[in-house]
Symmetry: C2
Subunit: 342 residues, 2 copies
């Protein structure tokens, strides 16, 4: 069903049909009726592809992330989708698995498909991003941004919350504090590590290199990293695990070795969803976590992008750091400190 058929059915020109559909120009009431009837009878909907070709605008944005099945990203995407829907935009989803080849492929496809903008959690390969810049496609980065690349970034206040989390552990009386981080290429990892290091230093606690365990940001990575920490001769009394999946992995290791957290080792984890409850709450003991403003990151990123696209507001190379929260629960109570205080 196309505009031509509708026009013939109504006995008018296609221009008139178009006018009725968009209500821009004034159309005589009687002809409008005829057209409306035709549209209804024939169940006509304008072809958005043809409209896009004409308007050079697709009302679609591309979202490029590493893995939608990671709750961190799925919650972000929910925020993106909600904001997009509000402005009449749709979202094309792309999973890169942190693979810059896939990233490149998707970026190419999105370009071919003439999407109006991109929200990107970059893998870290700058070539892709530089190419993107040349293309003049509006981009908002989320979570992280490679060095040397400038552009708007929406992320968490990683360093700050990491400092706070570390400080909490120190306040609980711990001195031997380990950290489990993801790939060091990623800017958020660096920031989280920085917060940890800075806090230890400011409290006069020396940095032990072997207390910094690197994982692959997923469950197995967290498991292995925790194992490495636990097998140290002089093992940490407390561990800060800096993402949600690795937290799961770390606890999986502890469970498999029958190690009780908060007795044998204190844990701070990460919560990447924005739910009121999640599994870190219902474990025994409940886990102290850093809660990320995940949904908000997505929403804000989409909002900025769409304000640029629809209202032409300039896209500044600015950081938007949304605040995390430290939710203190049972897993970081120092049994020793407790005893002392009794």
């Amino acid at each position: 069903m196309n505009i031509k058929t509708v026009a013939e059915y109504a006995g008018v020109s296609i221009a008139t049909v178009s006018n009725v559909v968009h209500g821009k120009k004034i159309v005589k009431a009687s002809t409008r009726e005829k057209v409306l009837k035709a549209i209804h009878d024939l169940n006509y909907t304008p072809n958005a592809i043809a409209q896009s070709l004409k308007a050079r605008k697709t009302n679609t944005i591309g979202v490029v992330i590493s893995d939608i099945s990671n709750p961190f990203f799925s919650t972000i995407i929910r925020g993106i989708e909600d904001a997009s829907k509000e402005s009449g935009y749709n979202v094309i989803l792309c999973n890169t698995d942190e693979d810059y080849i896939k990233e490149n492929e998707y970026l190419e496809v999105l370009k071919r498909k003439q999407i109006d903008g991109i929200i990107l959690s970059a893998t870290g390969r700058n070539e892709n991003l530089k190419k993107l810049k040349k293309l003049q496609i509006p981009v908002v980065y989320i979570d992280r941004i490679p060095e040397e690349i400038d552009g708007p970034l929406v992320t968490s206040d990683n360093e700050k919350i990491s400092y706070e989390a570390t400080q909490h552990l120190i306040a609980q009386g711990f001195r031997k504090i380990g950290i489990i981080i993801g790939s060091k290429i990623i800017s958020t990892t660096k920031e989280r590590l920085n917060g940890y290091i800075k806090c230890l230093q400011e409290h006069g606690i020396p940095i032990h290199e072997e207390y910094i365990a690197v994982g692959d940001s997923r469950i197995t990575g967290g498991k292995k990293a925790m194992e490495a920490l636990y097998k140290l001769e002089d093992r940490p009394e407390a561990v800060f695990v800096t993402n949600s999946l690795m937290t799961l992995g770390a606890l999986d290791y502890l469970k498999s070795e029958n190690i009780r957290y908060s007795n044998d080792v204190s844990i701070i984890g990460y919560q990447d969803q924005d739910w009121e409850a999640d599994w870190t709450l219902i474990t025994n003991p409940a886990i102290t976590v850093v809660k990320q403003p995940t949904y908000q990151i997505g929403w804000k990123a989409a909002h900025q992008l769409l304000k640029h696209i629809t209202e032409g507001e300039e896209l500044q190379s600015k950081r938007y750091e949304l605040p995390c929260k430290l939710i203190i629960r049972e897993s970081t109570q120092n049994p020793r400190a407790k005893k002392e205080s009794m």
Copy 2:
């Protein structure tokens, strides 16, 4: 950058450019070189929108689900996206929140955007689906399908696994077995309930209506449902919670009331991701769960849809039931039965 500019730059016709781009017709080596150089120099990529308009084909499918931040759906979508990528298709994501108005809106948009097919977890309103059928857009349903609607459905073997889970509880010596289910409108809910009822009946255990608690398929729903069950005078000794988020909610309630599962009440939960580990494993005690083939559901659905779209293979109104697994862990050990066996 368009084909015309490339043609002029290379000093050939646009048809020739099109030919070298697609490598269909034979082009003289020397002119091919010229064109290739032009394409490279000008960084030309064909405009997929124009191609789509011509071909009446967008290489895009729509995925309509209730909420991407639900791990069940995000894992399904990962499967869909992987299968789609393989065939050169992209995915537009739509969240309905089980709201048929949103569902309808998205279906309209997808139609306007001329997507080549839809994967749909239906809200239950038949009008939307009947309209869809009229449109002749290929649809594959996932997870559930309303009565009266026929079409291909990819889902889990809900009734079977529910029977199995219930049987496991009976085998552990439980007789007072509760179940927490989602909305009864949804076909999977009915199937899970059926498996439970059938199993109890076949073992000569009477059905108590008050042991069947209905939630909203999300965390709060699970929490309230568990509360209702636990406040019964004659409360169940074991509860089967039939989705992942409600499992979390149910345990949240137990935790808040200081009720130990597997001592005070046995629990079978649901795991909706396909990960090797998840939070149900690391709780104390670890939770017996039904593990859904979530990724596979998405993959299979996309595969069927795309086989139809690209190879014209007919889309049969058939059910594909992928097998769940019952993973038996600590939360369903009957303390009483244990004692007896010692």
